[in-house]
């Protein structure tokens, strides 16, 4: 029988499965206080998913406030944190929206569908802002490259991202793939989507205007994904993955249909063009529970829904299942009554199912009916915007002092030319630094015809205006070893690297999104890592003048009982006035002078060398100098705008050596390099000091002008060699030489060997 509001009032003592749904006793009590009675089964379903960690940010909110409180002034920000995605003004009447989200646990349980629906979800967030999605980037983390479970998870995740993104017609232009034992039982699948719109056409998730019609459009609603946010993205995930765990998780993973999403995108864009939408929200985590309560809470305040009108795949579904279902490819729109016919006609043109569910009211209540009986009567604000907030206990991890004290200085270093040569090749072929073509060649990078740069470039560059060449650059970065050693610095280094990557392409960095992947917030050591990372990122964004526009928190990521390394992934968006002036990492076939910008120090804590060669993690990450990053960025952007640079590549994992390898391979040419005086060759080649880049300039005039740019900013620069198109050899003067073909073999054979 159906648990109605009336029945709930009569049966205050009926036992309810609040614990199974992930609520605490205190939270359940609070729901009873708000309602003045016990919740109905449907209401309990709504509160439990909306008050889950994933939807409510209850453990992270107190920290995330810093992103707003410390945000640098920016007149570019058109919509910020709290919207489906942030929107920034990129000039010329254009705006860009971008956001990153995680789909970690679903991708572990069911790699293909988990990753596919991760892409689908973030794309709908972007669509809900009124934008055409134009690009995707996918930062991925897996367990050890050679581990059997990685061979299960990685190919499925990659095929899922490709299968969904390719079919949507979205170019995948960047991201990362990295391996570490800490992700063995908990891979990270983050997805960033970029969308483009006219700056005066932003859409919002508001249910405004009494009497306006609420319409559900897109796929039918089924039982897939029920409990996605409360089970998969919460503490109960851990218990359930253990042998004999609480219950099988696969039904909690949503199933994607990219074709349905493709037509939904085109349909929504036509609805926007014809101005038929008052407000719109995607249905993702927490499905209709989320869309109805969030839209009502952000709008006029009330909504009346006839839930039995929702088209179902399974006619036997209960109202609470309908409310909690996370079936994909659905949107919820608010439409003026006079526009409903036109709205439905556009949906019919695209064969998109659209159903009137109810209307906007000014009652201040969300009232849901099921075959004439009322099953929900709640104040939407208490569900969507006034959920529980916890300032959870935190302390510095007890092992951190020992970890920081165990620096990389004790590790044996290569000294002889032969040892240095072999280290370079070993690193170039190590899973983290090896070519990711095996992965990225499964993604369509050309579709839409606006891809100017894509992986393995430092950042993706997308043209948004064919007439003027205006475009955007995006990069995502994150080094969890750095963050493990020092989460404050680690978050700033992730920001710095993404910022540097965007600048290296020629883009002026303007905004930031972030995906914070951490262990359990109930572990005080994890909570400390989280608080430090947020503080570091907020301070870093203030220093660089790039506000955080939105993002996502993913807690409860652990392998067995051990939390993953703290993994803040930072996405930076930049703007280029003319994408024809972008800078590639590839050394040019026309030759040129190679300059090293920035300062190299003996910094190996958390380095790829320590990890790949010695399996060592300890010490301190590289020094953070954000003012230096900003100045380096200025030089890289000015160099691009003044057409001084024929190549630029940021230095990060693997240091100068890896950058040289990648730039030679990208250009298909050799280089002759003389390491700077006064530096130990090993340090010069492999140190991971931040705020550095290599650039190529052609001719003494360009070299002088680049020098002037550096001198004006007190940025160290040194000429280290020349591109040698004729030789096809990377020659490090006085030490060793490696043919480009040998580099290519080392760099490109690793992933195919591992994954077929």
């Amino acid at each position: 029988m159906i648990d109605t509001v009336e029945y709930a009032e009569k049966t205050p003592d009926e036992a309810q499965p609040w614990a199974k749904l992930g609520l605490t006793e205190g939270e359940y009590g609070r729901i009873r206080d708000i309602l003045g009675r016990r919740p109905t089964a449907s209401e309990l379903a709504i509160y439990s998913v909306m008050w889950s960690e994933h939807c409510s940010y209850k453990s992270s909110k107190v920290h995330l406030r810093q992103f707003a409180d410390k945000a640098p002034a920016s007149d570019r920000l058109l919509a910020g944190i709290g919207e489906n995605a942030g929107v920034v003004d990129v000039g010329g009447g254009w705006a860009v929206t971008f956001k990153i989200e995680s789909h970690n646990h679903p991708s572990y349980v069911e790699p293909y569908q988990g990753a596919a629906t991760g892409v689908g979800g973030i794309v709908r967030d972007i669509l809900a802002m009124g934008a055409r999605p134009v690009a995707v980037l996918d930062p991925l983390r897996f367990g050890p490259a050679g581990a059997p479970d990685t061979a299960r998870v990685l190919p499925g995740v990659v095929a899922g991202i490709g299968g969904y993104g390719n079919c949507l017609g979205l170019p995948t232009v960047g991201g990362e793939v990295a391996f570490d034992p800490c992700y063995a039982g908990n891979p990270l699948v983050n997805a960033l989507c970029v969308g483009v719109l006219r700056r005066d056409r932003i859409r919002r998730a508001h249910a405004s205007g009494v009497g306006n019609t609420v319409i559900l459009l897109g796929a039918k609603t089924g039982r897939d994904g029920i409990g996605g946010v409360s089970v998969l993205a919460s503490a109960t995930f851990e218990d359930s993955t253990k042998p004999g765990g609480a219950r099988p998780l696969r039904p909690s993973v949503q199933v994607g249909d990219p074709f349905a999403e493709k037509v939904l995108i085109e349909c929504c864009l036509e609805l926007y063009d014809r101005d038929l939408v008052v407000g719109i929200q995607d249905l993702g985590g927490a499905g209709l529970s989320c869309a109805t309560t969030e839209m009502a809470s952000a709008g006029t305040g009330g909504m009346r829904i006839d839930l039995d009108r929702v088209p179902l795949r399974e006619p036997s579904m209960t109202p609470e299942e309908v409310l909690a279902s996370e079936s994909q490819e659905r949107m919820c729109a608010v439409v003026e009554p006079s526009a409903v016919d036109d709205f439905l006609a556009v949906c019919a043109k695209w064969d998109v199912l659209a159903t009137v569910l109810g209307e906007v009211t000014d009652t201040g209540r969300l009232r849901v009916h099921w075959h004439g009986e009322q099953v929900v009567d709640v104040p939407p604000h208490t569900v969507a915007h006034a959920g529980p907030v916890y300032d959870r206990p935190r302390y510095r991890p007890s092992d951190l002092d020992a970890l920081q004290a165990s620096g990389p200085d004790v590790l044996p270093r290569p000294c002889t030319p032969d040892e240095l040569r072999s280290t370079l090749l070993q690193l170039a072929g190590s899973p983290n630094l090896a070519s990711k073509r095996w992965v990225t060649d499964q993604y369509d990078r050309y579709v839409q015809g606006n891809t100017v740069l894509a992986q393995p470039e430092d950042g993706g560059v997308i043209r948004i205006d064919e007439a003027t060449g205006r475009g955007v650059a995006v990069s995502t970065d994150g080094n969890s070893r750095y963050a493990r050693l020092d989460p404050y610095a680690g978050a700033q280094l992730a920001l710095a690297e993404a910022y540097r990557n965007v600048a290296a392409t020629g883009g002026t960095p303007i905004a930031v999104t972030n995906c914070l992947n951490f262990g359990s917030p109930e572990d005080p050591a994890v909570m400390w890592q989280f608080a430090e990372a947020v503080r570091g990122l907020a301070d870093g964004c203030a220093a660089l003048g790039t506000p955080v526009t939105g993002g996502n928190v993913s807690f409860y990521n652990s392998t067995g009982d051990t939390a993953i390394h703290p993994t803040p992934i930072v996405g930076v968006l930049g703007v280029l006035d003319d994408v024809a002036r972008r800078t590639s990492i590839g050394f040019p076939a026309t030759g040129g002078t190679i300059m090293l910008l920035g300062e190299t120090r003996d910094e190996f804590g958390g380095s790829e060398w320590a990890h790949a060669i010695h399996g060592h993690l300890g010490g301190r990450p590289p020094t953070v100098d954000l003012e230096r990053e900003r100045l380096l960025g200025e030089v890289l952007v000015a160099g691009s705008q003044q057409v001084l640079l024929s190549a630029a590549h940021d230095l990060s994992d693997g240091g100068l050596a890896q950058a040289l390898v990648e730039s030679c391979l990208r250009g298909g040419v050799g280089a002759r390099v003389t390491l700077p005086d006064g530096l130990d060759p090993f340090v010069a080649l492999f140190a991971e000091s931040a705020a550095r880049a290599v650039v190529v300039v052609s001719g003494p005039e360009a070299e002088r002008r680049l020098a002037d740019l550096c001198i004006a900013r007190s940025l160290p620069y040194v000429r280290i060699g020349t591109v040698t198109p004729g030789t096809a050899v990377l020659d490090v003067a006085g030490l060793f030489a490696v043919p480009v073909a040998e580099l290519r073999k080392a760099h490109e054979s690793t992933l195919p060997r591992l994954f077929g």
């Binding site: 095929a159 490709g162 299968g163 390719n166 079919c167 949507l168 017609g169 249909d257 990219p258 074709f259 349905a260 493709k262 037509v263 085109e266 695209w350 064969d351 990225t440 060649d441 499964q442 993604y443 369509d444 990078r445 050309y446 579709v447 839409q448 015809g449 606006n450 891809t451 100017v452 043209r463 064919e466 994408v579 024809a580």
Partner: protein, 227 residues
């Protein structure tokens, strides 16, 4: 008056805007056609673009074949109108029996997106006459079901009649028989190719501008025939 080239959008088409852009860059006028259109209006040629028409459910191109617009395309094509099918469009041409053979899952069993060197084997078709025979353009391929197959007799006939238009060089990316990347009908008006010439029309956004020749070819042919 510029030559009018129709570009069909099926639900799930992805490279339709790119095909239209390429037509424009070559000097023609791209006319958008919708899968449900009852006629082709007054277009002089048609491009069936890449993508996943109708989600590629059942089989790539199998549903698109029954789209209302395809009745007109088939009729006009049999009457000699130039038609270019790219990727999914090639699959649709095969499903429509305008071209022989079929496209099956790549032998590597993965979607493959890469820059591919090719050889133009037949530079007399409506869509390749701007190339020199033996030219080696570099075009992107991006497909999961790009393996061209046909029975041996059909393959021999295609070879003998010069109906193999494009062949893969530097390695076969998908297991296509005899490295076939594109074929044409007996008249050379109907061409199907797996690589994407519309994504190689500007070095800024593609690996080359080598693909522009496809669109230049058909415009020249049509201007010539009108004169």
């Amino acid at each position: 008056m510029p030559v009018r080239v129709g570009v069909v959008t099926f639900p799930g088409s992805l490279d339709d805007r790119d095909a239209a852009r390429a037509v424009g860059l070559a000097g023609g006028e791209a006319v958008p056609l919708w899968h449900a259109d009852p006629s082709l209006y007054d277009v002089d040629a048609v491009v069936l673009p890449g993508g996943f028409s109708y989600g590629d459910y059942l089989r790539c191109g199998a549903i698109a074949r029954f789209a209302p617009v395809m009745r007109s395309v088939v009729d006009r094509a049999r009457g000699g109108m130039p038609v270019l099918g790219i990727c999914n469009g090639f699959q649709i041409l095969c499903e429509s029996h305008l071209l022989p053979g079929a496209l099956i899952r790549n032998d590597v069993r993965r979607f493959v997106c890469q820059d591919q060197r090719l050889r133009v084997e037949n530079a007399r078709t409506a869509w390749t006459s701007a190339y020199d025979g033996g030219a080696e353009p570099v075009l992107p391929i991006k497909s999961g079901e790009g393996g061209y197959v046909a029975d041996r007799r059909t393959l021999d006939e295609l070879e003998a009649a010069g109906q193999v238009v494009l062949r893969y060089l530097d390695g076969n990316p998908n297991g296509s028989y005899r490295d076939i990347a594109g074929i044409c009908d007996e008249t050379g008006a109907i061409v199907g190719v797996m690589p994407h010439p519309e994504h190689a029309v500007d070095p800024l956004t593609g690996p080359s501008a080598d693909g522009l020749g496809f669109f230049v070819s058909v415009l020249r042919r049509l201007v010539g025939s009108a004169a």
